[in-house]
């Protein structure tokens, strides 16, 4: 996972799929990233490398979303693959995640 | 009145009768009669005729005369049904009164045919006492005999019961 700050936008790029196997590690890292960039007003979750998201992965994303909500940061998922977009669509998360 | 149609002469129990030839379908010789237990006395039994079952009647019983033994069984005059009469090119006027099912009368023998144009006389008084009057058209003198000319349509009249009486209320099937 990489986090880069571009202006006020914090971009989090995930290395691969968001699965129960790596969610556990990612969580504290995401938290750290947010803590390290208190001035960010927008968070882009870059899912370019993410093909599969399972329920834990979703859980993580939602937790991230909630965390952003708490911090008044707008959340957006970008570079979403067609499958993931479809998944978000089924779960009615598309608009919430700001997916285009 | 004069007859329009030929008449068939026949004998039953020492009486001579005549009826319209056109009403007769065929004459059976010595038919095999299946007696029906419990049938009204006018019915002598059933006869099998080429796949159909015909009801054989006793003529004297129908006319109201005593039906003495020996019972005639030599010949059976089979009558046309109303449907068969109506199918003729020139059906008799009272064809609808004929029987709807196959019936016939058992007689001793048949004899001559009386040509059309013969005069039918009204019966002399007392001559035909005991006979149901609606069944008789009149008489014809032949040789020394008085032949009773039957009103065939009345014999198997659909509307009335064989003996005119008050309607039988128990006629409905229980």
């Amino acid at each position: 996972m990489k986090s880069t700050l571009e202006d006020t936008t914090l971009r989090i790029s995930f290395d691969g799929d968001l699965l129960s196997t790596n969610v556990h590690d990612l969580r504290p890292k995401l938290f750290q990233a947010l803590e390290a960039n208190p001035d960010a007003t927008t968070l882009h979750a870059d899912l370019k490398n993410c093909k599969v998201i399972d329920s834990m992965g979703l859980n993580l994303l939602i937790a991230l979303y909630r965390e952003c909500e708490k911090r008044k940061i707008s959340f957006k998922a970008i570079n979403v693959s067609p499958e993931v977009k479809r998944l978000f669509g089924f779960l009615n998360l598309t608009s919430r995640f700001g997916v285009e | 009145m004069k007859t329009k149609n030929p008449l068939l002469l026949f004998n039953s129990r020492n009486r001579s009768y005549a009826c319209d030839l056109i009403w007769i379908r065929e004459v059976l010789r010595r038919p095999s009669i299946r007696i029906v237990d419990g049938a009204p006395p006018i019915v002598r039994g059933l006869i099998h005729l080429r796949g159909q079952i015909l009801t054989a009647i006793d003529l004297e019983a129908r006319l109201g005369l005593p039906a003495e033994e020996p019972h005639p069984e030599n010949r059976c005059l089979v009558f046309k049904t109303s449907a068969e009469l109506l199918a003729l090119p020139d059906p008799p006027p009272d064809a609808t009164q004929a029987s709807s099912d196959l019936v016939g009368i058992l007689v001793d023998n048949t004899s001559d045919i009386v040509p059309p144009g013969t005069t039918i006389l009204p019966p002399p008084p007392g001559e035909l006492s005991g006979i149901d009057p609606i069944c008789v058209r009149g008489v014809i003198p032949i040789k020394d005999n008085l032949v009773t000319v039957l009103e065939t349509s009345a014999l198997f009249n659909n509307q009335k019961q064989p003996t005119p009486q008050k309607p039988k209320l128990l006629a409905l099937q229980s």
């Binding site: 998201i53 979703l58 859980n59 937790a63 009615n92 | 237990d37 079952i53 008050k166 309607p167 099937q173």
Partner: protein
């Protein structure tokens, strides 16, 4: 016009008429269920189909009317117009007009439909329904979370889909089934429409990244599918708690509140076809011909959907025909069809399976014929006869099958006819301002087509009559304590080979007195004759010509169309009509249609040298009376002991009044055990021939009055056999009101030991006290309505069914000191004892049970009255055991015999092993003779006879060790005892026994066990001896 065009037009008319028939029924159903979406769809489809095919032929009149109906129905289907009574009325009126137009389509434009069209267009321009409920409040709360697309909901409702809310835990419910979330949703999506989903992101537990991510995400799905919930759960292995069905009514309401919807512009997957196949929720027999007559019943579950009509007559299907009809070009048809008239009644619809059977049979016929040809060509040989017989056998079978199949092809379910009455009854109800409900039973019963056609008019008249005259208006019904909705029931049933059709109403019933008066008024009968008639006979007067009980002749039941016309019409079909009526309760007209036009299996028998046929359906078994199945006399009537029961015997020769010779009566005869609805009996005939399939021919008019025959048939050799009517043969000759077969133990006829148990019948008479009578002395138990008990002086009597004998009834309480019973309820049991001289019956209010009792059980120390043997504990209750003969004595049924003085010096030995009958003799003679000794069996009797002096021996026949016959033989061979008077006392009265008794030298054989007879018997033998 070509034949093809004729055929097509005929097909159009036939199908359109079918559509219109079901349309009628569907509209009526819709009237009671205005929210039934499936019903609405059916009406829409029917109208749409008629419009389509009529348009194809260019019948513009039909098209215009059907189109207007379709437009209105479209609004209803979308929920934008409610189903109102007004709508139903207009649609029914329009349907009627369509029927007229379809009947003669060439002239359909001439039919005036202005009223219907303007009514329909008025409905179209009306504002949508007023219900301005706020959209959200209409929906159930659990749907409020969703963003619902009304178009999908509308489409789902249109197609009769089911709506569910699924609550799914993403991990526990989905991933645990070894699938990804995406896979699951993809599959779910393929099974229906996911209308909306909602994933809860505001989980209490998940407030951010700080906590461990533990809770499972829950996604709610609002789903629409043709599947049932159980199927859905099964498909995904979901627990039932995940699914909540959503009722359709709130959705429909909600749709109505939505602004006018445009046609779906959804993705291609959801493209709604105009007329998809309706869901097949039940198995449809594939063998049914397409198109299929819709079998309709009151229970919607039985509805067998047709394949959508629009798929039938379309240009596509017509292309399967070899020649293109000219009318393919739509501008052509009208001119060609003008002069064409079709009689659609001449065509018939057949079940494909019958056609298949006919094909097979035709094939078998060909095989048989070929064999015959070969046989003839081969000439006569040693095997010819055998071969010929085999071929004849085969051809015979095929011919029978052929005949049967063709007959079956003519059969139609009576429901087709009955179904028409839904509409008629509904209209009648409206017209007469009465609430009428039509019940239909037995619609599957099949009848020959001619019979069905012939029934149509009479049934219509009867139904109209029932509605008009039979049923009362709602206020009158309420005042009489009846439900306001009157019922008319059309029922069909098979009843012993006949078909019975009933038109029954629960209205006023017939008024016999009013009918009598009317009949006298009309000169149909005289006043005296009317007065003499029973109520039942009086009611039948309405069948006489010139009769009408209506005080005003309404246009509903018609002028001059009377019940006599109904009767004549039914009789033309060979059937009969009868009436049942109860004032205040209703009337039923019962039509029985004969077996004509039928082939039935029958048993051919002979009696009096004549052959008869008994329909197989009535024959339970054939029995040869003899030692194994003995004939006995009971209460003056002949019975057959058939294993454990007694079956009343009727002699066919006797019923028919045949003259019999002695040889005929003494020859071995046969009993046909006949099973009727409420009775069984044995019919005695002379010979049994064989079983045959007979063609039923009706009897001529002159013989119709003879009730014993239901027709005649020709047997193989040309013989005529009369077909017997088993119910009529038994009429008035069997006990009525249901006989309870009492299991008669063999204690009379078999050897019973003292130590053996006796079967007793336990009963009550009003109070809780219990009584018992040995089964062996019971002839039968009858259950009788109390109304049939008559009082003559101080006695109560029951007249027997044959009106010739009367049972005098005894109440135990009158003779034995027990608590007197309260008055009897509706029914009373009458226990008729056997072997008793007098015709009596003992009344009981309840038969408790039968039980076993050992003689030692009876405690006679407490006996307080004659008529009781004692008390015993039976079935855990104290029971008083009745002494029949004592009871009779107390009841005054025996007379004091002055002659008994002559017996005062007699010494009598009684050889009897059964205690109950020993008692009888004891009581009879105990105080009459000087000495009365008892022996338990023949050996003991023989011993005692040799040891002591006796004047008379009374002996049972069947005893252990030495039976009565053997004992008597010994006595007659003994020098000492050879002139001893011997009286045999036994229930067995068969000829063989009586003969044997005479043979061995028994002086008197007595079968009745009452006191008088016993004393008389003793007197007789004594006086004989003294001569």
């Amino acid at each position: 016009m070509s034949t093809q065009e004729n055929e097509m037009l005929a097909l159009f008319i036939q199908e359109a008429e079918e559509h219109l028939q079901t349309l009628d029924n569907d509209l009526i159903l819709l009237e009671s269920n205005p929210h039934d979406q499936e019903g609405i769809n059916r009406v829409f489809r029917a109208v749409h189909s008629i419009k389509g095919t009529a348009g194809f032929f260019g019948f513009s009149g039909i098209v215009e009317l059907a189109h207007a109906m379709e437009n209105v129905m479209s609004l209803v289907r979308d929920g934008e117009m409610p189903v109102s009574p007004e709508l139903i009325n207009i649609f029914l009126a329009a349907t009627d007009k369509l029927k007229i137009m379809v009947h003669d389509p060439d002239r359909s434009s001439e039919v005036d439909v202005n009223y219907e069209l303007s009514s329909l267009s008025r409905m179209l321009s009306q504002e949508p329904a007023e219900s301005k409920a706020s959209p959200e409040s209409v929906l159930p709360s659990y749907l409020l979370q969703f963003n619902i697309d009304p178009i999908i909901v509308r489409d789902g409702l249109r197609h009769g889909r089911n709506f569910f809310v699924l609550e799914l835990r993403l991990h526990a419910d989905i991933e645990n089934q070894n699938q990804t979330i995406l896979e699951f949703f993809n599959e779910l999506d393929s099974l229906g429409d996911i209308i909306a989903t909602s994933t809860d992101v505001g989980l209490e537990a998940c407030t951010g990244l700080q906590e461990e991510i533990r809770p499972d995400l829950i996604c709610s799905v609002f789903f629409c599918t043709p599947m049932e919930d159980t199927l859905l759960l099964g498909a995904f292995n979901l627990p039932p708690s995940t699914i909540t069905p959503v009722p359709k009514e709130p959705l429909q309401e909600w749709i109505r509140t939505q602004p006018k919807l445009v046609p779906s512009q959804y993705s291609t997957k959801h493209q709604i076809q105009e007329e998809p196949t309706p869901p097949r929720s039940h198995q449809v027999h594939e063998s049914k011909l397409v198109p299929v007559t819709q079998a309709k019943s009151r229970d919607d579950n039985k509805l067998i959907p047709t394949t959508p009509p629009s798929q039938e007559i379309t240009p596509a299907t017509l292309q399967t025909r070899p020649h293109q009809p000219q009318s393919q070009d739509k501008t052509e048809p009208t001119t060609n069809i003008q002069s064409f008239r079709i009689k659609t009644e001449e065509t018939v619809r057949l079940n494909v399976s019958i056609l298949d059977t006919l094909m097979n049979l035709a094939g078998e016929m060909v095989v048989g014929r070929n064999k015959l040809v070969r046989c003839a060509e081969a000439g006569l040989g040693p095997d010819s006869i055998g071969e010929l017989q085999a071929i004849v056998q085969q051809i015979s079978t095929v011919t029978s099958d052929l005949q049967r199949t063709v007959m079956a092809a003519r059969l139609q379910p009576v429901g087709n006819l009955f179904g028409k009455f839904n509409r008629i009854v509904r209209d009648l109800g409206q017209k007469l301002h009465k609430e009428i409900r039509l019940e239909i039973l037995g619609e599957d019963v099949e009848l020959d087509r001619t019979l069905l056609e012939g029934l149509s008019d009479p049934l219509t008249h009867l139904v109209r009559n029932a509605a008009d005259h039979g049923l009362e208006p709602p206020e009158e019904r309420r005042a009489a304590g009846k439900p306001p909705v009157g019922r008319i029931r059309l029922a069909a049933a098979h009843f012993h080979g006949r078909v019975q059709i009933e038109v029954r109403d629960d209205g006023r019933g017939l008024n016999p007195q009013k009918i009598r008066n009317k009949a006298v008024e009309r000169g149909i009968i005289s006043a005296e004759a009317a007065a003499r008639m029973s109520d039942q006979e009086a009611c039948r007067l309405i069948f006489m010509p010139g009769f009408s009980t209506a005080s005003t002749v309404t246009d509903i039941s018609g002028r001059g169309v009377g019940m006599d016309v109904v009767k004549t019409n039914i009789e033309k079909l060979g059937g009969t009509v009868d009436l049942e009526s109860e004032p205040g309760r209703g009337t039923a007209v019962i039509i029985r249609l004969p077996l004509t036009l039928a082939i039935i299996p029958a048993l051919i028998v002979s009696c009096g040298g004549r052959r008869f046929a008994m329909p197989q359906i009535n024959v339970e078994e054939i029995v040869a009376p003899g030692p194994d199945y003995p004939l006995e006399i009971l209460g003056g009537a002949q019975v057959l002991r058939l294993r454990n029961e007694l079956v009343p015997i009727l002699d066919l020769a006797h019923i028919l009044g045949q003259k019999r010779t002695k040889e005929q009566d003494q020859a071995q005869r046969f009993a046909l055990i006949i099973g009727l609805d409420h009775a069984r009996y044995g019919l005695l005939v002379d010979e049994i021939d064989n079983m045959e399939e007979i063609v039923v021919k009706p009897l001529g008019r002159l013989l119709k009055g003879v009730p014993w025959y239901s027709g005649a048939t020709l047997l193989g050799q040309g013989d005529i056999a009369l077909i017997l009517e088993p119910a009529a043969l038994a009429e008035g000759r069997l006990p009525q009101d249901g006989i309870q077969d009492v299991e008669v133990t063999k204690s009379q006829s078999s050897i019973s030991q003292e130590s053996h148990a006796q079967r007793i019948l336990v009963f009550r008479d009003g109070t809780h006290e219990r009584f018992a009578i040995p089964l062996s002395v019971i002839s039968r138990v009858e259950r009788v309505p109390s109304s049939r008990i008559e009082r003559i002086g101080s006695k109560e009597c029951l007249r027997q069914a044959d009106n010739r004998s009367t049972l005098q009834l005894l109440r135990v309480a009158n003779y034995i000191p027990v608590t007197p019973p309260p008055d009897y309820e509706e029914e009373v049991y009458v226990i008729v004892p056997r072997l008793v001289h007098h015709a009596i019956g003992i009344m009981a209010s309840e038969i408790v049970d039968s039980a076993d009792i050992y003689p030692g059980q009876i405690d006679s120390s407490v006996v307080s009255a004659p008529g009781l043997l004692g008390t015993a504990t039976v079935l855990d209750r104290l029971t008083s055991v009745i002494d029949i003969y004592g009871l009779l004595e107390v009841a005054g049924f025996t007379q004091q015999n002055n002659e008994t003085a002559k017996l005062a010096n007699l010494r009598v030995l009684l050889a009897e092993d059964t205690s109950f009958f020993r008692e009888a003799v004891l009581r009879a003679l105990q105080h009459v003779v000087a000495k009365l000794d008892l022996a338990n069996d023949g050996e003991e009797a023989w011993k005692m006879l040799n040891e002591k002096e006796y004047d008379v021996l009374i002996t049972d026949i069947e005893m252990p060790k030495l039976d009565g016959f053997a004992l008597t033989e010994r006595i007659r061979s003994s020098t000492k005892l050879c002139s001893l008077p011997v009286i045999a006392l036994s229930a067995r009265d068969s000829e063989s026994f009586l003969n044997r008794a005479k043979q061995v030298g028994i002086d008197h054989y007595e079968t009745k066990f009452d006191r008088d007879r016993i004393i008389a018997a003793v007197l007789k033998v004594i006086s004989q001896q003294n001569e």
